[in-house]
């Protein structure tokens, strides 16, 4: 993202790396030392969530839950984790099973680098076998507890915790009267503290892109959250066909859908899930996102943009 409020001169920029992505907090506050104290507080919140939910960290609740899979034991979870699982459940229902936080294990079959090199597709029987371990409905939940009954089952909060962290940071900032400002964690954005109604111009770029990747579009936003999903021009060419890197958890195969979806919502987590579901819905994605009613922008496989957000194609700052 590159978000620029009206006067770029007196902003305080703080960049760091968390959750595997470049992160940035921009504040419209002069006082460097106050701003520094404030952003370190906000960064602490991001790290707290990363430590809690990253599947790569040994002490996270995610790792503890995944390591218990198939051992017939249930893990005690706190209220926040419980509510995040409830949220994942809502996403599952709203997407007719396409948004599924147990689908992460499928990535073991789809090693795109390998497959592209060897120009082979995974075996259908291998996919079907792995699918036995996938399925949100297979997860056993009781109040305050969760159990993964099959060996090899795993849950991954990666699809919601980054957007959730963005909302948490914004909520903390607003409760303390900090702002106006913007928080971005790897393409998931949220404005906070904007009481003057001034617009920020935000550049949407490829969510998986490096810092120098091209900007897809510019939009004007006053408040709320923005999230982008999709593979945008990233695919693997195997045996003459393009395969996206987003997998359908019901079939085990890559989706063929929108290349990029950007959604605006009051909460970044809602924007993020809506964008993800729109991509997962494949051919029906564009109808689904239109029916949802949130402002959106999307790019299809042929590079055509459409959507309800007014955007500025070129120019910018």
């Amino acid at each position: 993202m590159s978000a620029t409020p009206s006067d770029p001169v007196k902003k305080f920029h703080y960049r760091f790396r968390a959750m595997g992505s470049p992160c940035e907090i921009i504040l419209e506050q002069e006082c460097k030392d106050t701003s520094r104290a404030v952003v370190s507080l906000l960064e602490k919140e991001v790290r707290r969530l990363e430590n809690q939910y990253s599947r790569f960290l040994p002490n996270s609740i995610t790792t503890r839950i995944n390591e218990s899979a198939g051992r017939g034991i249930s893990i005690a979870i706190d209220q926040e984790t419980e509510k995040l699982l409830d949220y994942a459940d809502t996403c599952y229902e709203q997407s007719d099973g396409l948004f599924d936080i147990t689908s992460g294990s499928l990535r073991k079959i789809w090693n795109y680098h390998d497959l592209e090199q060897k120009q082979v597709l995974p075996d259908d029987s291998v996919i079907r076998k792995e699918l036995e371990k996938v399925g949100w409905k297979k997860v056993e939940r009781q109040p305050g507890r969760i159990c993964l009954p099959l060996i090899g089952m795993e849950i991954d909060f990666g699809g919601i915790v980054k957007e959730y962290a963005v909302d948490c940071v914004a909520a903390i900032a607003e409760a303390r009267g900090i702002g106006p400002g913007i928080v971005e964690l790897g393409g998931d954005i949220r404005m906070f503290g904007n009481t003057t109604g001034e617009s920020w111009r935000v550049g949407i770029r490829d969510p998986h892109g490096a810092v120098l990747s091209s900007t897809i579009a510019f939009i004007n936003v006053q408040q709320g959250g923005i999230a982008t999903s999709g593979d945008y021009e990233r695919y693997s060419l195997i045996k003459g066909k393009k395969y996206s890197h987003i997998l359908n958890p019901l079939t085990g195969w890559p989706v063929e859908g929108l290349s990029s979806v950007t959604v605006l919502a009051d909460q970044c987590i809602v924007a993020g899930s809506a964008a993800s579901i729109a991509v997962l819905k494949g051919e029906k994605g564009i109808d689904w996102i239109k029916a949802l009613g949130l402002p959106f922008l999307c790019i299809d496989q042929r590079g055509r943009t459409s959507g309800t957000i007014e955007q500025f194609k070129q120019g910018g700052f």
Binding site: Q29, E30, C31, K32, D33, T34, A37, V38, L41, E45, L49, Q79, E80, K83, L84, D86, Y87, D89, T90, C91, E93, Q94, Y164, D167, C168, A171, I172, E174, A175, R176, G177, T195, T196, G197, A265, D266, Q267, I269, V270, S273, A274, L292, G293
Partner: protein, 376 residues
């Protein structure tokens, strides 16, 4: 929408409305204030010096977070006063020359210290406070506890607390002037408060504060002054705060109604307008109206009944009204905040909405304050 409803249930997304969290940074503040009471008009002066009090006050404050959940506040002040005050007031025969001022000009100092330790949690906060005030003739110790709880998704807050204090009074030159020696006064006070958010730009708060004093309540420096040995008072305060986004300004409106067992009723009205200019400047004009009725036993000294009954000619128990206007200028520079305040306070029995005995010894004053605070 289902996703939104589910998202709103997430704990991180809903946080307290007003920063019900410990301070993020520490700050220290210093303020110096000086005010001078106007001279007593010559036409009222029977005998003594017309010069009244000249007071300088130094204030210090430290606010700091302690660990993750606590905040500590220290307040201290040093006050030095010199001047004279009315000893007694007579009912004059020609409507003039009726105030007898105290003989010598006094020079006195007062020091006070207050400490509050507050614990913050998800639903509110609570605190313990301790304080002391010391003068050469008056020592006070106080302690209190208060708590606050948020309700209704943090739209409303209920708070309450109690405070107790114990004061020791040892008037100067007691033997010389036949004053009392070694008296004491005990105070117990409680409050209950309701605060409600109206919308994203405004809220109001209503509080009831009941206080009971027991012990020596008389002013030993005023002739023939004899007041009850207990006093109960109740104050009902209401505050409205509203922010005007397009003007970048906040309005404060406050109304307090007061009643006590001395027979005094009062009304206090405050209005302030905090006008911001960018992020670094703020100018705040304010006005205040105050009016009180006279105490049941307020009379001119020549009408004092036998020593056994209650009386006082202290102007502060008379019926009168006071109007004051002030202007605060505030500027921020990096971590520093500078404030300058100018205030003018005038009293007149004509401003009063209450009838009853008044006093020619009503006081007017002008105050200036200069403050600096630093955040670190």
């Amino acid at each position: 929408m289902a996703l939104t409803a589910s998202a709103l249930a997430l704990p991180g997304i809903s946080v307290p409305a007003k920063a019900d969290t410990p301070p993020t940074e520490s700050s220290i503040g210093y303020r110096i204030s000086s005010y001078k009471e106007d001279k007593l008009p010559e036409k009222f002066l029977l005998t003594g010096s017309p010069e009244r009090y000249d007071i300088t006050i130094h204030q210090f404050q430290l606010v700091t977070p302690v660990g993750e959940n606590y905040g500590l506040t220290l307040n201290s002040s040093y006050e030095s006063m010199s001047g004279a005050s009315p000893w007694y007031a007579l009912r004059s025969f020609d409507g003039e020359k009726s105030i007898v001022m105290s003989g010598a000009t006094i020079h006195e100092q007062r020091r006070d210290y207050n400490l509050t330790m507050r614990r913050y949690h998800d639903n509110g906060n609570y605190a313990i406070s301790l304080g002391t005030s010391k003068e050469n003739d008056y020592d006070s110790w106080s302690g209190g506890f208060d708590m606050s709880r948020n309700f209704n998704d943090n739209q409303a807050t209920l708070s309450g607390g109690i405070s107790m204090s114990n004061d020791d009074i040892n008037p100067t030159d007691a033997a010389l002037f036949n004053r009392v020696m070694d008296e004491s006064k005990r105070t117990a006070s409680g409050f209950f408060s309701v605060s409600q958010i109206i919308n994203q730009n405004s809220f109001f708060q209503s509080s009831l504060n009941v206080t009971r004093h027991n012990g020596f309540l008389t002013d030993p420096y005023k002739l023939g002054d004899r007041r009850p040995e207990s006093k109960t008072q109740i104050a009902w305060s209401n505050a409205y705060r509203r922010f005007f986004t397009s003007l970048d300004a906040a309005m404060h409106l406050d109304l307090r109604l007061y009643d006590d067992s001395f027979g005094i009723n009062s009304v206090t009205l405050d209005a302030s307008w905090y006008q911001n200019y960018g992020d670094n400047w703020q100018i705040t004009p304010s006005i205040r109206y105050y009016s009180q009725s006279a105490a049941d036993f307020f009379t001119p000294a020549n009408d004092f009944s036998s020593p056994a009954l209650l009386n006082s000619s202290d102007y502060r128990l008379a019926a009168y009204g006071a109007v004051s206007g002030g202007l605060q200028l505030l500027t921020r520079l990096d971590n520093l905040t500078l404030t300058f305040v100018l205030e003018r306070y005038v009293t007149d029995d004509g401003y009063s909405i209450y009838g009853g005995y008044s006093s020619p010894a009503l006081v007017n004053f002008t105050r200036m304050s200069l403050g600096v605070s630093y955040t670190f």
